[in-house]
Symmetry: C4
Subunit: 267 residues, 4 copies
Amino acid sequence: MSAPCHCSHTSTITKYSALSPELQEEFKDPNHPANLICELCRLFYDNNWVTGTGGGISIRDVDGENPNLVYIAPSGIQKERLQPWEMFLVELPDEKILRTPNDIPEELTKSYKYKQSQCTPLFISCYTLRDAGACIHTHSQHAVMMTLFLENKKEFAISHIEQIKALPKLKYNEETKKIEKIGSMEYYDKLVIPIIDNTPHESDLTDSLQEAIKNYPGTSAVLVRRHGIYVWGETVWKAKVYNEAIDYLLEVAVKMTQAGIPLVKET
Amino acid sequence: MSAPCHCSHTSTITKYSALSPELQEEFKDPNHPANLICELCRLFYDNNWVTGTGGGISIRDVDGENPNLVYIAPSGIQKERLQPWEMFLVELPDEKILRTPNDIPEELTKSYKYKQSQCTPLFISCYTLRDAGACIHTHSQHAVMMTLFLENKKEFAISHIEQIKALPKLKYNEETKKIEKIGSMEYYDKLVIPIIDNTPHESDLTDSLQEAIKNYPGTSAVLVRRHGIYVWGETVWKAKVYNEAIDYLLEVAVKMTQAGIPLVKET
Amino acid sequence: MSAPCHCSHTSTITKYSALSPELQEEFKDPNHPANLICELCRLFYDNNWVTGTGGGISIRDVDGENPNLVYIAPSGIQKERLQPWEMFLVELPDEKILRTPNDIPEELTKSYKYKQSQCTPLFISCYTLRDAGACIHTHSQHAVMMTLFLENKKEFAISHIEQIKALPKLKYNEETKKIEKIGSMEYYDKLVIPIIDNTPHESDLTDSLQEAIKNYPGTSAVLVRRHGIYVWGETVWKAKVYNEAIDYLLEVAVKMTQAGIPLVKET
Amino acid sequence: MSAPCHCSHTSTITKYSALSPELQEEFKDPNHPANLICELCRLFYDNNWVTGTGGGISIRDVDGENPNLVYIAPSGIQKERLQPWEMFLVELPDEKILRTPNDIPEELTKSYKYKQSQCTPLFISCYTLRDAGACIHTHSQHAVMMTLFLENKKEFAISHIEQIKALPKLKYNEETKKIEKIGSMEYYDKLVIPIIDNTPHESDLTDSLQEAIKNYPGTSAVLVRRHGIYVWGETVWKAKVYNEAIDYLLEVAVKMTQAGIPLVKET
């Protein structure tokens, strides 16, 4: 799939003149979380990860004045056509809604009633349980196919593929009581990602996602069978890199499975 | 495949100066149906859905002053190189032709004789039978392959894949006598799309397409064996989203079929 | 693969100021055959058809003052980085070389010694035997794989796939002694493309290519086993459309073959 | 994957105003090795060769005043977002570090601590042993899959595919004591690429890579099992072309292997 040109000069970007001067000023920074969500969603759309309005991304403003601010893309919107003013802004830990796209002038929203992302409690879980800086949710077909190959299994595992080294090595710190990154995974490590079963409503995944996160301290992702994957990282760029590496590994794993090659190498 | 850059500044867009001032003014709006047809066709071309001049899209001006106006891309033209003035404009319910690209100055048409799309009666059927806002026709290889796997079957069915939730849940309203959207499909629903057999001439599909639309009140699409698919929606963006989601599901279905995984989950 | 942005404003296009004023004026027309070769090669590169300097395209100036002028991309050059002044210009029927990129100022050529395309005699054959307006040569993997599946066969055949209708129906005209287009192929027609075996040197394909063209009056292409395909058309845009449609059909045929589905439907 | 638009006008390119005037002047040339690394990485990212910060490229300034200068992309950086000032600059033969991105103003580096590429000793080996002008390292899935199909084999071999002709024919010159290019490979030649086993740390590949380079005087690449490939050429554009051709051949080889077609044709 091909999103509108990534260039910022494309005429399909709605003019901001209807926004308040404060918002116009705020969105001038290309690294503003709302702008990054738009940019990454166009990239993800090109990868077939967020088609048909599925998938999404949320970013916590870890480097900003208030690191409890979380920007989340709304529900049911074409992800590759997102505009920065379409994000919901919530504040941790209460998830208090500070701003919604329904506050934006009608000239831009065309009276569309925005709803919060169904993924919100899942994204929030990543921030609460892992201090994530961003969380990405895709409907990657590689994730769907791999969970189908592992229909009755609870986890996906692969070892001895170089790309594994892009993932972080995590360990529970007894003092801080937190999962911390102590380095990167090794080539010979076994990457294990838990798989939870899908539920009719996305928010109903929250309990099983949280349980998987707690039971798998080494993971940076949770696969959802017949649905996709949630991947988080300490910053948005780390989340992006981890997501790319995991999707690459899932794609290779599907090919290996089809070829009858074991995913975990016997040593 | 890669269409010319989606950016509006590309020099391959024919200059409009040869158009009448009225038409130039009309096409300034990027959301004009004729402009949207061009934009979406470039996207569809990138997806290998409208190569070799196949496929197409038509849009009804549902939000305009006259919602009976329908813009249709002409026949046998490279879809990714369409210009807004190349569309046929018809008016429902009589399909009276209000404007054709053959009315456009020769400076732009280079004396090419445009013909109405062979898909016209099929597009019109979607408007007549389902009040569609737009109808998309692709030659998606996923559609072709899936109908080949189901060579003697009359329908495609799949369940328990998250992407199904992008499709609308439709129900016949006894009072209005119309099929109406009452929500979205559920993850555990069985998505069923009728398959009709291809005919030598596209317009000869009309009867079987209309029959399939009537017999499958829950569908938003009709597969044409060894040919492609027709997908409609209440607006152009809904049609686009439904088409993306269905194509994703067809692609996954082909992979599942090749892997021997049942498309409909036994519960 | 992704070529530099198709937009004409990209800075990777070498400045023309070193060219003579006449050439600068000549290349202002985006539809100049030399410019079209560049544009199409970028598109073909994106499709993996002309990687590693393989493949190419030549265009005859059918609508120009002298329809015997033929522009041909040089040998061994990265096709997606071609510049219009890099083409060889020959004149039929003697193939007299009128212009070569070696005539261009060194400031642009960087003293590179251009060689005529190895495909030249093959391109010329299409012009001589079929009055083609353009000829495209790709190293499409779909072509390579299909000729491998048909290792000892002399032709590729497929029927009953809608995309076949993009190809022209050709017939020998007893009066003009030429093969002429009398319409388009039908859905139920059997599309037959001859396969010739590859030779160590591309020019050595000339005899077998000419023989195939003569023995298959209905074809618009010749497959070269383990190599790729040559496709021609009455104009460059027809050649492009035919090439797209054939490549789509080869891709579907590979999938059908892998699935054990007959390419020609028994009726 | 889709990198930011290749156009140079994209706003994601960091402003250079924070750089010294000398560096700003240096990077004005689009053919500066540092700029070429950025451009090629965006292309490679689109091909899924350098996702998750994997892979890389280094270029020796063969045509510059000092052909011992080597530019190398840093470790662990998103390759498609590289900026020219992020390169390490070393000088052969001692690999003396002349410039690092850690010398660049914090305004651009955001205090990020750059590390030299893990591939450095491997790149340097190509320059030392083969007088390469550039060396490309990708995590191509075609390379990974092919080395998995050849799990216990020491080399990959394929013959009688046209694309082989893009690779150089190399021969040891008794007088100069160097491996030299004496032409291009032939269609009927057997292309042989050695496979070395992966190691936990990339630099530990150096010995086996050097051994493979010495034992295979005809090769322009070394495959690393379950990891990817290193490809070099006499200039950056040759390296790019060889890499494209080899990746094409690996992709075809995977398809041939899955179809049970021998890679080396019996003659």
